[in-house]
Symmetry: D2
Subunit: 343 residues, 4 copies
């Protein structure tokens, strides 16, 4: 019963198998292998758009490199105050982009568009004392476990267009968001105004496979230099590309995401059956932020469930491709057991 | 007959097997897994010294992070003009360290110690107009394919000590150097004054496994922040650590290095049998820099051998754990064939 | 009637005279002149403490250099959301320090200490995902025109000490704050836990004279390199030092500050006599944030008064050493005139 | 007899007077004053070209900001190994530009164009492992005290054009070079392919007045942000602009430069009259690099002359606007006196 993080899960078997196959023989290094070339075509197909892609070993690198293509060092990037780039990347954006982050509030982990508009106007007005308004970064799944609707993305895009800003999507869990929205990859990204996407696969079954997907081809110019300079050009690139090829084969990525989303719904059903327990925000992906009595949390942890405390009285539970219905059922029994014992 | 790079080889079977084993079940992410903990102990054992280690996905990242611990952003790092950090890392040192590189000449890819001494004195004299002399970086195997002797390393260390500088070793091919010297890991590193080592495994049979080994424990303070901030803290760290554990098991790393060094010697024997062909520097590792007529080079390439041109009339051939005696023999036949045809 | 900024005033005559005197003859450059040496002693006297000083041409440079001594590039600096370093320095902190800013709210332009405490605890807890809690920056006068009391400074210092952080004071208008508090320079700085001070003179009568004052001498080590590297080591340093020597002579700096503070009080008296006009925060220095009808603002601007709009319905008026009682009286007449005309 | 540096001289009287005049009354800060506006027009006139200008307080800042407009952070800037940006700016280029410097040799302080060509080709060939070839920086007067001829500048420009690079001129002593060449400002700069110029006035009679002159207007876009972010946007800009206006009035700058160049020639005549004394390079500006016996150097220093040792047996003497014919004559007597005493 490990609900600590989708990172605690291993690599799904299809991807592990693909690594073995890719290991046969010699392959030119630094992106000149056949796997890398094949992947570029596959991603274009999936997104129904010309793309340039770059592979990275972490989401932090994918985010910061993506943003470095759309914000100059003297620019600022608007993001939610809870955005991963603001809270969990140890200043990597300031290092790898140079640019400043300007944080905004907003309910359910989503940027409030009116606040965004006001802040951009304010910053532009005092040029050059404030950094140049350059880009907006949205996280999909948000850090609140919610999903921006296509309309919400388009509202942000409209604001970006009014002021000449680019839009980035941190898609560490974009597969979960995509199956939640039930739309196409194109609809959730470039058709909603996304210029650059950090496309994560690690949390959804890969070993270490993150990707920058550039839709706006002007932004791809010289990106190879940025990528190399950040220490992200791996030598044996076939082993990154092969992970992604397996990830896309037979829609494995969507299958995995649907599974983990479904597991999250089942978990939620067990939790909310307990009086005094509530869940923050609508569950739209594979993350639950649960308000529960610490006695219940302690009881569950003691029973062998793993999850993190996420502030006073709040706990985060995350499901993954590897979460089984059996685990969830077993967890449900403990929850129910506590319920009957306590009330 | 692929002699392009040791990066063109795949992953050796022992390491691939280890990845499969490591994939079983859940494991806490971000270095809190059992593999990572076990590895820290193993590395201390190998180097007979207290160490702090950090894993990275590229050698560029390992080098720059290592150096960031020993050179402040206002410092300078002395290195050979051909050093990988100077020629092949696209400004990553300037980005990830902040510091300036000051380049020095020297025969056979090795820093000339008298020039080093003079440059440090000059820079210190005009403080603060020149950057602060902070660190020296040596590459072992050098970029010329040669090996610094223990005495040469100690001479550099003595210079460093006279002026209060730290010493870093770029060990992308350190296993090849180690077996060439026939000394212990301790002797080639901390006993010769190395403070921080970039320890590479990718070129010698791993998939993507590089490591920063810090001997001077004061330098390890806060390194976790540097590592995370550079986008190098992977989530599923077990898959990095497991590669290294297999790499060290039964001295696989030394076995692989001995093999590739031996293959390089055999290759050299074939080449030098041809009149008009010579080899730059003594071959001390798995790299050959061969001066040969372009007609010969073209002939070999046409016969299916792969290697890079390395300047006018110079060609680089690299062997690896995956190079077979059969390949080398086949290559030797082509070399011999060209000889008889041409003269 | 220029109340746009204390930067719109010129150089006070005593300082202009000092520049002429300093111009006689040759003087060694880069801080080796007699003026620079004399200044170092003078500042130590004023602050009753050993100090190391560095002169800069802008407050932005003074702030960022000060902070670079107390926050590593992987650290974070806590400041008020309205802090000049956050809103008006175009990402200079991110560039010159490397570090990330973490913004906090708080009434009257002052950091809320409980929020500060919570944020530090949160960031430390998720190490190394969040940047290292490193420093706190307070502005004195705050950006709200208010003054931190000695007790308030000490509360921040206590929080800093609990977590091992340094404290920086942005003293662009510290003379105004000092005379407002009526304490000694020592009391407002190192006796209240300030490690490094950005000491501004430009706004209070100098031409271009800002200074970093380091109280904690460990932090002064290598600062000369930081200073040079940021492009702030002027060649003809005598002309910077001479400004400060004149600024301190016969307490000119305190005299100027008392004058501008008094002018601000008089301005305020005129404004608040008008019904419907109010002033944000207590006036403790030389800045007024006035809520007034736009009709009144327009009327005053039309009459030749200069001041800035500072958001909807809010206007900022700033006095300086050069503001005359006559100007203020003339302004008062217009204010009174508008009053009788409108009501 | 102060020949240490042109920085040891004070401010010439015309400029000091201009500062006093500029001090009258209020003036809008941050470049919105009338002096700044007038200066922009004047510089366009002098260079017979549309220009955008930015003022800085140091040459280091002017150089690095200039280069930041023509080299991306992932780029490299080619310069002579003795270039001020390489040897005397403490890593400011790496900080303020981000980019890497690639150093080249060349006689008399001038870049060897064939070496330049080869290095650019090499770097481009291994893209993206080497930084992107982005810009070339030449110093005029060179660090050897020599002057690039117009033809030499055009040869560098031709190389730049072949590879799509920009060209920067570090003109810390460009007035001395200009009067030496006897050409127009336009000829020495944009007509010879210079895109951006660091135009220094401090060494030639100003107090602290350096300027970035951008000829290629595409490069001026967003430069205001770069300028502010580097801590170089002074508040009381009128005092920078007024220095330059006086500097250009009645060709004061050219008059000063002609004077110091003439003084250098006279100094040289005295020195070379001594057997055993020689001068490195042709004297084309206001700097002499003199090879002389240390006995002579010691004798002169003891007689009250001031100059710097510049390596074993080499001494640098610099003249300025403030050097008088009397000083030079007095120095000449000492030189002659030593001669008769010693031989």
């Amino acid at each position: 019963m490990n609900f600590k993080s989708d990172n605690a899960a291993g690599v799904c078997p299809e991807i592990m198998k693909a690594l073995e196959v890719a290991n046969i023989g010699f392959a030119t290094s630094y992106g000149e292998d056949d796997y890398s070339k094949q992947l570029a075509k596959k991603v274009a197909e999936i997104f129904e758009h010309e793309v340039t892609i770059f592979l990275t070993s972490t989401g932090t690198a994918a985010n910061c490199l993506s943003l470095s293509a759309i914000a100059p060092a003297y620019g600022t990037i608007y993001c939610h105050t809870n955005a991963h780039i603001n809270t969990d990347e140890c200043g990597a954006p300031e290092l790898l982009i140079g640019a400043k982050l300007t944080v905004l509030g907003g309910a359910a982990g989503k940027i409030n568009v009116q606040d965004l508009e006001n802040q951009i106007l304010f910053d532009a007005d005092i040029r050059p004392h404030a950094s140049k308004p350059a880009a907006i970064s949205v996280t999909q799944l948000t850090e609140g476990g919610t999903v921006y609707s296509l309309q919400e993305l388009q509202n942000i895009h409209a604001c970006a267009q009014r002021h000449g800003l680019y839009v980035h999507m941190d898609g560490a869990r974009c597969a979960n968001a995509l199956v939640s929205l039930g739309c196409t990859s194109a609809q959730m990204t470039w058709k909603s105004g996304i210029d650059v996407l950090s496309f994560g696969a690690t949390k959804n079954g890969a070993m270490m496979a993150e990707m920058v997907v550039i839709f706006n081809q002007e932004l791809a110019k010289d990106f190879d230099y940025r990528h190399k300079r950040a220490g992200q050009l791996l030598s044996k690139t076939r082993f990154e590309a092969a992970q992604f090829l397996a990830y896309f084969e037979h829609d494995l990525w969507l299958k995995n995401a649907r599974h983990s989303n479904a597991m999250a719904q089942q978990l939620a059903a067990h939790m909310t059956a307990v009086p005094g327990v509530s869940i923050d925000h609508e569950i739209q992906g594979n993350e639950l932020f649960v308000n529960m009595p610490s006695a219940l949390a302690d009881y569950l942890l003691q029973k062998g469930a793993h999850f993190y405390s996420w502030g006073p009285g709040v706990y985060r539970l995350v499901t993954s491709w590897a979460t089984t219905a059996e685990e969830v059922a077993a967890f449900g029994k403990f929850v129910a057991g506590f319920k009957s014992a306590s009330y």
